[in-house]
Amino acid sequence: MTELALLVQGLLDGSIYALIAVGLTLVYGLLRILHVAHAALFTLGGYVGVVVTNETGSFILALVAAMIVAGIAGMIIYRLVYQPILHLPPYVALIASIGLFIAMQEGFRFYDEQGVSYVNPPVQGTLELAGQTLQLAKIVTFFVAIILIGGLGLLAAKTRTGVAWRATVTMPAMAESFGINIIQVRYINFFIGSALAAVAGVMVSLTTNLVEPTSGDVWSYKALAIIVLGGLGSMRGTLIACFALGVLEAFATTTCVPLGNIQICLGEIMNRDAIAFAFLVIVLMIRPQGLFVRA
């Protein structure tokens, strides 16, 4: 496998992390909450995507439906779960979020224990790149992510509303004193973040052709690690960390380094998920403030 192929593979995975991590960062920026239950919205999106595709035959419709359902669910979570406990110590919201996440996961199990699959999986097929086979679905995911996140970034940079929104996410107190309706911005954040997580859920379901109650877990745990790596609350740092981790995982799981006359292969010592968290722990030891935030 060539370096180029690994790099591409890593960037493709990075785009999925990005879709999930944007929502986590939006929520953290505004509320200082580690929104663990975000993972459940990824899974919810996946379920809606598969079910609606199977019912209607339209994948695009399913994708939109998934975004809307997850977006609304995100707003409901804000209203019913977080808003009433914002004044309590931060661990309260964190633990509530974990509880909600686990409960929602079990709720999916009520609905469907085995998981759901596409009857006619859309966007299948593969592409050859430098001797490496890439799933078409992953490439589509990458471009969908770039378009959605890039579009969001443009809106935030170029429009009046976007600028106000960005200001609110980075400096809530300041924005409030300028008369911005901060509650409204919170709802918008939850809607957008959750909708993007749903997109990730749907796109991942294309590559695995399976959505089960625990589908979102590992992606989302790692997305939490990513937003910490990115410095918590910094969108640019988060996005860089997403792609950095994707690429790192691609290389670390397959590359061996010679040490004397033995080969050390990280992939043989620990699995992929452990590598991500080892990276997190090591980075935090060296740069406790996160990778991309100035001290």
């Binding site: 509880g99 939490l224 620990m270 968290f277 997190l280």
Partner: protein, 291 residues
């Protein structure tokens, strides 16, 4: 006495006792010292695997347990060192990472049995009843230790750190050293619980010590009332036994734990102990005891 309990009862009691040790050990870190840990089960796993590997190699149970505690404690110091350097929010995620590191490494290591885990290892030759009595006594010892710490100046210092660590520093408290002390004590006791657990069952696998298990222990601390020794003990026993007694709760154990965590935080963030305090206030107000 021995005849009154069947094997199943004894296994319930042993499990509950082990969970009491686990919950109280996390309570030292989270309850006393205010440091959230989402990865406490990993330290239990370190204790379990160390002790089992040693007993496979012919090492005595007690020595193996002590070694498991030591290793868990050393790992605890490492995690504690991270916690000193990172912001409060980061710690939750770092400790969560420990769980994935643990299982990620164990499941790739053939001498730890990969994903199959370890089984068929020798148990101490005490017999079920004596083993159960021993676990109960150890659980009581950990309770007493918790009470002891809470009453000591160390307990007061932990309380100050959990309350406001910046102010504790201004009063000359070496906050880092105390946090490390909490991590060492808490994680080595989790190692103890791990060894006890491993030797009362026949197989251990990395997934026995994963994220969900860590959250289960955290839910015991939260349900009992963060910091309250009695509350956490009761919560550990109730939350261990309920899913085993009630078929429904057993089937939907995670829904139950998750819902409980969520509802407690949403409606009673100070746990059972908080509810008791509120009831007391209510009663005292009725009797005109307080103004």
């Amino acid at each position: 006495m021995e005849d009154l309990l069947n094997a199943y009862d004894m296994s319930l009691i042993r499990t509950a006792a082990v969970m009491v040790i686990m919950a109280l050990s996390l309570n030292l870190i989270t309850g006393f010292c205010g440091q959230i840990s989402l990865g406490h089960a990993a330290f239990m796993g370190v204790g379990a695997y160390t002790s089992v590997v040693l007993s496979i190699n012919g090492v005595d149970f007690i020595l193996g347990t002590l070694a498991g505690m030591a290793l868990a404690g050393i790992l605890g110091i490492l995690v504690g060192l991270t916690s000193l350097r990172v912001r409060h929010d980061f710690l939750a995620i770092t400790t969560m990472g420990i769980v994935f590191l643990f299982s990620g490494i164990v499941e790739q290591s053939s001498f730890l049995g990969d994903t199959d885990g370890l089984s068929g290892y020798p148990h101490p030759a005490y017999g079920d009843f004596a083993y159960m009595v021993m676990t109960i006594l150890l659980a009581i010892a950990v309770m007493l230790l918790s009470i002891y710490i809470r009453r000591s100046w160390m307990g007061a210092t932990f309380k100050s750190i959990g309350d406001d660590e910046d102010t504790a520093r201004i009063l000359g408290i070496d906050v880092s050293l105390y946090k490390l002390a909490a991590f060492v004590m808490g994680t080595s006791l989790a190692g103890l619980a791990g060894s006890l657990y491993a030797h009362q069952t026949t197989i251990i696998q990395a997934e026995n010590f994963g994220f969900i298990e860590s959250i289960t222990v955290l839910s015991m601390v939260v349900f009992g009332g963060v910091g309250s020794i009695a509350g956490v003990t009761v919560a550990a026993i109730v939350l261990t036994l309920l899913p085993l007694w009630s078929q429904f709760i057993g089937d939907y154990k995670l829904l139950f734990y998750g819902g409980l965590l969520f509802l407690m935080m949403r409606f009673a963030p100070y746990g059972l102990a908080g509810i008791v305090v509120r009831l007391q206030r209510l009663v005292f107000r009725r009797t005109g005891d307080t103004g």
